[in-house]
Symmetry: C2
Subunit: 210 residues, 2 copies
């Protein structure tokens, strides 16, 4: 029966979204899903690979929508570079919509990010999409060195991760104004747009003049 695999995935998703990955034991998952412990290792191999499947199931669609939106903007632009604001919109809009449709999506991703599990596990799921967006940004910001562009993309991921992660933590509710997911993302896009368009730093000169 394939129902076992689905039961495990659904139960794990719910528990991890509400408690976090480390705090959710396989024994709790199998207890609530009413399956056997070894079935988890039969279907997934390990706890980490179970998580991997979970993430894959969630982010595939969002990343497809991201690339599709970027495609649209690139067609509209003809041969010209797509504006930074549009690139950011193509990246964030699909995530905002997924988050508004399904709040558990935000909680789950937030939990995993807060536990530092995304870089090690989900990065390969994001890799192709990331490459596409970096290429678009490189054309939109030709004055930036390769290194500085990569750095800024890293800043973008950091700000986004920390924000989504923060939404799953009780700490953030204390500070801030308790803004919802969509509001935070709109604020983030404004912030990142300005940061991306900032003048390049003068680091090379410092090394050359010495």
């Amino acid at each position: 029966m394939m129902a076992t695999k689905e039961k495990i995935l659904d139960t794990a998703e719910r528990l991890i979204a509400s408690q976090g990955f480390a705090a959710t034991s396989l024994r709790q998952i199998i207890s609530e899903a009413q399956v056997n412990l070894a079935a988890v290792h039969y279907h997934f191999g390990s706890k980490e690979e179970l998580l991997d499947q979970l993430i894959l199931r969630k982010v595939t669609r969002v990343n497809q929508e991201r690339e599709a939106l970027l495609d649209t903007f690139e067609r509209e632009a003809g041969g010209d570079p797509v504006a930074v604001d549009k690139i950011l919109a193509a990246f964030f809009q699909p995530m905002i919509e997924a988050g508004c449709r399904n709040p558990q999506f935000v909680r789950l991703m937030g939990r995993l990010i807060a536990e530092g599990l995304i870089p090690s596990i989900a990065e390969r799921h994001f890799q192709p999409t990331t490459t596409r967006f970096i290429a678009a940004l490189r054309r939109a910001l030709p004055n930036l060195s390769e290194g500085e562009l990569f750095s800024r993309v890293q800043f973008m991921f950091g700000a986004m991760s920390h924000t989504v992660g923060g939404l799953a933590l009780p700490v953030t509710q204390i500070h801030g104004d308790g803004a919802d997911f969509q509001t935070m993302m709109l604020r983030l896009m404004a912030f990142l747009g300005a940061g991306m368009n900032a003048p390049a730093t003068k680091e090379i000169q410092m090394e050359v003049q010495q």
Copy 2:
């Protein structure tokens, strides 16, 4: 003997900086430090509290320097608000210097950030300093709503954390240009300065007009 406590702290710091927190077992620490397992629980209570002491020992000085630098800039400004760039400099300079003096500091913090341990453990060590800097930013950016200011501070922490965390991960070395800590921080300050100074979003109007 108080030497036991110090031996545990020093050994734990070295091992955690190179392997991470989760991958470093108490049994490995006590083996290399040549102390007994129960001594760790006697002196610290738990593995988490050991980490807490470790972080405290590291960040106290940096945060003092941050506040001292902000004090200086505020005195120089008389009653006027301190410029955003100076506030950012007051925040990042002490960390850059600490990182250049002691590379293990960057590795340790990077590891912990990458594992998602900073929000849950070290936040209270940063709380007073953070409050001071938010107050300074509020004066420098009076056109921002309270909520949007908090959000931008969160973006700043996210970008910073992810960058420092990334420096401890092998993944980042693949992309990017392998820039050193100081270069990354300078790029980050330029990025954040522009982001902080971005125009406010128009979220309130949307709610009011409905």
